[in-house]
Symmetry: C2
Subunit: 509 residues, 2 copies
């Protein structure tokens, strides 16, 4: 065998082993959220930590580094293999370049910060969390410098979730979005509210579950390689591409919440289930980024399952299960699903129109924290000012304001942008799918989701990480990331819903 090929085979074997260890960790996490008895929390922590030590040893092995160095940009490898080496090298540098002393301090600091965040949130007093947060920011800066000293720290942190994304691009895209959404939201707020009472009913969990399962299966979720359970926070997890599990939760008096959550997680799950299995779980076959992942959940949830076309087909079916919807018209039903939840300071309760503002707010604050333009102690004031200015509501306390998210105390700086990148990609991809399948809305109204699924599989799921994100999006949609698809979608759907005169009065997507 050719030496390059031998080295490449050795590399893929090591990478497959890392994937397998990640799958095992995925099961430990899923079990922890879904099936683990309450008294096992401490031993589960030990199990996850032990597996983490094993994984870290193997992910930073000198021989792995040597192989990656030898194979980097080797022209004897085909493009797919080169992409695989590129992705493996990116992951290697993120773990290998960080000194173990820093890893240790980081681990300790996040445990401490998580504790003080809980205490601060309970007391609704940011000052109890401020020092630990400041330490985490300092350590995150040091980690970023260790990983790549040539780029701004915050951009290096974002890179963990959005490889290749730049702050310049985010600044530009988010500014456009903010400048569109803030006045648009103000116009909505001036309109009468949408009536949602006609879909309010008490629906037992078992019935909601049956509807959720049927819907997931209809959209294309493969239950032979997955399962659906209940968890406190809905998520998509499991143990690899052959075992992709979704969870949801049920509120008896708000069936639509679980229904849309199931569709959302089904979107995530179909991305994982649709990956190119012939690539044997190599990095190149993995989901491109958190933002692209979120694009798949949001595409199915917002572009599809909140649309009129979707409910033209599905509402008659749902009425068969929920007789209280017998007299609710499609338009009325869709309006109720999409009513905007303004005057709300909580991100996780936000809707399509307000969610990006929550994200941009966090992005700007994180950016300014890492640039030094903002001090930790000034966060609450900056938070409240932006919330008031953009969302029109003053946080009633630190607990429901600056302390509402878990992300900072676990050190997940740079994660927030992915949520909104997902929304933008979803709109852009859905529009591209609509151009490729001209009768897409009719198919969706007819309950045929195969054409959309196939298009996503070919353009997003199967390519995986073969190309950088920009290239993936360009190949799928014809252009790089472009927020105007999202803005047009919001204008169309919510302009119509709230009776606003908007630029283009196109049909609702």
């Amino acid at each position: 065998m050719h030496p390059i090929q031998t080295a490449y085979d050795d590399l893929t074997q090591r990478l497959s082993e890392l994937t397998t260890l990640d799958e095992i960790e995925g099961l430990l996490q899923w079990d922890q959220e879904v099936t683990m008895p309450p008294g096992a929390a401490a031993s589960r922590g030990r199990q996850v930590a032990t597996l983490g030590v094993v994984r870290h040893e193997r992910a930073t092995a000198a021989e792995l580094g040597r192989l990656l160095h030898q194979l980097e940009d080797d022209q004897q490898l085909d493009p797919l293999q080169r992409a695989n080496v590129r992705e493996a090298r990116r992951a290697y540098e993120r773990v290998h370049n960080v000194p173990s002393e820093l890893v240790r301090r980081w681990g300790e600091a996040t445990v401490r910060a998580h504790g003080s965040w809980i205490a601060a949130r309970k007391a609704s007093d940011f000052s109890l969390f401020a020092d630990d947060l400041a330490e985490l920011v300092a350590l995150a800066r040091a980690r970023a410098a260790a990983i790549d000293p040539r780029r701004p720290a915050y951009e290096v942190l974002i890179d963990a979730f959005e490889p290749g994304m730049t702050m310049k691009k985010l600044d530009d895209v988010f500014a456009q979005l903010r400048d569109f959404l803030v006045p648009f939201l103000a116009r909505i707020r001036a309109q009468p509210g949408v009536d949602t009472t006609m879909i309010a009913a008490d629906v037992p969990e078992a019935e909601q579950e049956a509807v959720g399962r049927a819907l997931a299966e209809t959209l294309g979720y493969d239950f032979a390689h997955g399962r659906m359970d209940t968890a406190v926070h809905p998520f998509c997890g499991g143990a690899g591409a052959a075992d992709v599990r979704i969870t949801t939760r049920y509120q008896r008096d708000r069936f639509q919440q679980s229904l849309l959550a199931v569709v959302h997680e089904t979107g995530h799950a179909m991305y994982e289930q649709g990956r190119d299995r012939s690539l044997a779980d190599q990095p190149v076959s993995m989901a491109r980024s958190m933002g692209v992942h979120e694009s798949q959940s949001l595409l199915w949830e917002t572009q599809v399952a909140r649309s009129t076309a979707f409910w033209q087909g599905r509402l008659p079916w749902l009425r068969g299960r929920y007789p209280f919807l017998a007299d609710v018209a499609v338009e009325t039903f869709v309006s109720a699903l999409n009513s905007v939840n303004f005057n709300n300071e909580i991100r996780v309760e936000a809707d399509e129109v307000t969610y990006p503002l929550h994200v941009i707010l966090r992005y700007e604050l994180e950016r300014d924290l890492f640039s030094g333009a903002l001090e930790v102690r000034d966060l609450p004031a900056a938070w409240n000012a932006r919330t008031k200015a953009w969302l029109g509501v003053e946080p009633s306390s630190d607990a429901t304001g600056v302390l509402q998210d878990i992300h900072w105390c676990i050190g997940a700086f740079g994660y927030f942008p992915s949520y909104t990148l997902g929304a933008l990609y979803a709109a852009q991809l859905y529009a591209a799918a609509g151009r490729a399948v001209p009768d897409l809305a009719d198919r969706i109204a007819a309950g045929d989701f195969g054409a959309l699924r196939d298009w996503l599989r070919a353009h997003v799921h199967q390519p995986g990480s073969r190309w950088e994100t920009d290239e993936l999006i360009r190949r799928a949609t014809g252009t790089a990331l472009d927020p105007s698809w999202y803005m047009a979608h919001i204008e169309r759907r919510y302009g119509r819903l709230y009776g606003l005169t908007v630029g283009s009065a196109a049909t609702e997507g």
Copy 2:
């Protein structure tokens, strides 16, 4: 710190890590039986294999061997520490001494044999399995010689499940047992059968499950550190002493099957839950042997939950859930539970009286295979002859005879004796508990299981592997293994049930 203490601490850290990896494997196995989607079988196999590689590397690490050598019989260690080193060394030698080439061949041969066993069983033709079985026997002999060349191969294999047990002891005990059971069974067979129709009813799964959960909790199973689910084969597994999970299965027309199976698995589970947690999951805290494990399940199932005293207390409660039992008296109910299932060639359907004969049959055949006194090709004839002579029934085919068990095709030679050792230990331990707690039967009739549980915890669960099995049993019961407790129990319970005149007509235990 003293160098010995440093070395001991280093050792315990390595051993804890091995335990943690075993716990993770336990979760993978549990999930595979209970929650895993069907399409994930291949990837689960890869996950288990990868974890096995990691575990094997660490379990055979040169530094671990060096520490064990340094610490062996070190008088500066306290007795508990020395016992821990002894147990760790036993485990180390079992994996370290086997050459990796043999491990590889063994792995391949078991996969092959499992395949041919399935085919042979389907065709009911032993000859399709014979060659692969012969190869496994040869490889098992080589493994045994690698582990300990000084002892007979079969004894070394038994040692994996019953550390310290000798063939001399088993020959002696099993001969006594066989010579008692074969004529006793013949006498039962001459009596009229026991009527079981009065407890036959159709009981929905959900009701059986509620009864099983309530019963497990009443006996002392801790649901905060466990859970109960459905699986094809009932088992007790999970992810360590803080996470001990049981499963059962339901037959709508035989509620007693699941009920007793739950009690059986609860016995296993309480052993694991009752281990000395202050020993931080070191080998010395682990269950002593498979036989002792089985003693805990069988003690609760047969000595307790098949007894008259137990149902004096529980039947009124059960009648509240199962009204069809309203007119069934305690004696009648207990008789129906304990009717002997003779004319049955299948081990897993056997009862207290016939089960040991199935086991002794397999023990004798395995022993003769490994000594060379029996050839693989002569197994079916030897099997059928013993079945006919001892159980009074001729196997109707290879499938229901010599091919009925999975053990040989997965290479689990030497495992069968543990089942019957468990039954013997159970009778001996229960008698000792009765001497220590003189009003034990009254307590059990009153629904108070705490005294029995506490006694087992103190004498079996907490000691774990501190002493060799003989010593454990001697400390708990006053003598080494003695089958007469079991024989007396069988004589009492089944002599009374079938109206036989027996030596001692003591009250039923």
